[in-house]
Subunit: 192 residues, 2 copies
């Protein structure tokens, strides 16, 4: 296979579409679209997001030590993209989009009612990485639309139509089909 | 919409399927399937992975300060899953899968020839987060199968058939279709 080197740039795939919910000191809710983030440990379960210091979301987090990650779906693609286009210091993004911030049960941050899955996080550390501050949040609760739960009470992601992001072409992608079972489909190599 | 709280656990979506390539001190190549990771800053561009200290990959990284992230596609789903089923200390995973480790041009780690996209990373920091060590790598090169590049020399992700991982059901998912243009599709809310 012929290979080619392309420019070193911030890239991986998939990257998520995280809509991060925070409150200001005065309890004004804000939402921001964040692409740099992911799970960072199993125990405790942590989820991290990387933010520039100038962001309203970062300033809010320094005060409240809390945030939510609301996973964007296809239905909310326009609202989710808008949340990344302008600062919450300039516009009331909830008023503009008609979406509903709800006080979380466990952390001092709003989740967004219309989003299918919201993850409540309590900040445990902040690490400076180049241009960004990585905010490390302990996952303390996960809020799910009941219609996404199966009989065992687990999330059926295939019903959620969640979005992915590709940071070179700047395209959002939909989630595809189930392709296989992890920790299982590769077992044939163990017995070779 | 009725909501339900589910157990706090390590979860987000999408999470990636990163096949991490490293060398041991004696230049023995290894590959591991890592789900906890993502881009962590834009400038310099960094990509981070979280590993338990017991992993051969982590021991290798402490010696070489280098790793590659090879993005798993549907064709290589069985091999990619196998890379997460057993330690490189116990089996020669390249011999078992018949895949080909190639010395990277810029870092002291192998990329895997059969994978469509490989990202070369040079370790710039390691941060302890609970059960895991987050290894922060500066992206110094991206290697792409030529057939995935468009006329402008950019990656066409829709041709790459990359996998995603869902850590509650432990399913791999395929990438879906392009759903919209980021920093664009939400503009209508700006002029409301």
């Amino acid at each position: 296979m012929a290979k080619k080197n392309i420019k070193a740039q911030p890239f991986a795939f998939p990257t998520p579409v995280y809509i991060v919910g925070t409150y200001s000191e005065d309890k004004v809710p804000n939402a921001m679209n964040v692409a740099w983030g992911g799970v960072t440990s199993s125990s405790p379960p942590t989820l991290s997001i990387s933010l520039r210091a100038v962001r309203q979301t970062y300033k809010n987090i320094l005060k409240t030590k809390s945030f939510t990650v609301n996973l964007a779906n296809e239905t909310l693609i326009k609202e989710s993209d808008y949340f990344g286009l302008i600062s919450g210091a300039k516009e009331d993004k909830f008023a503009k989009t008609n979406l509903t911030p709800i006080q979380s049960d466990f952390v001092n941050a709003p989740y967004i009612e219309e989003f299918p899955i919201s993850i409540e996080c309590e900040v445990v550390d902040i690490v400076e990485i180049g241009s960004h501050f990585q905010v490390i949040g302990k996952i303390v609760n996960i809020i799910v639309d009941e219609e996404l739960l199966d009989e065992a009470g687990e999330i059926s992601i295939e019903k959620a139509n969640l979005l992915l992001f590709e940071p070179i072409s700047n395209n959002y992608f939909s989630t595809g089909e189930i392709a296989g079972k992890a920790f299982n489909i590769g077992k044939e190599f163990l017995i070779k």
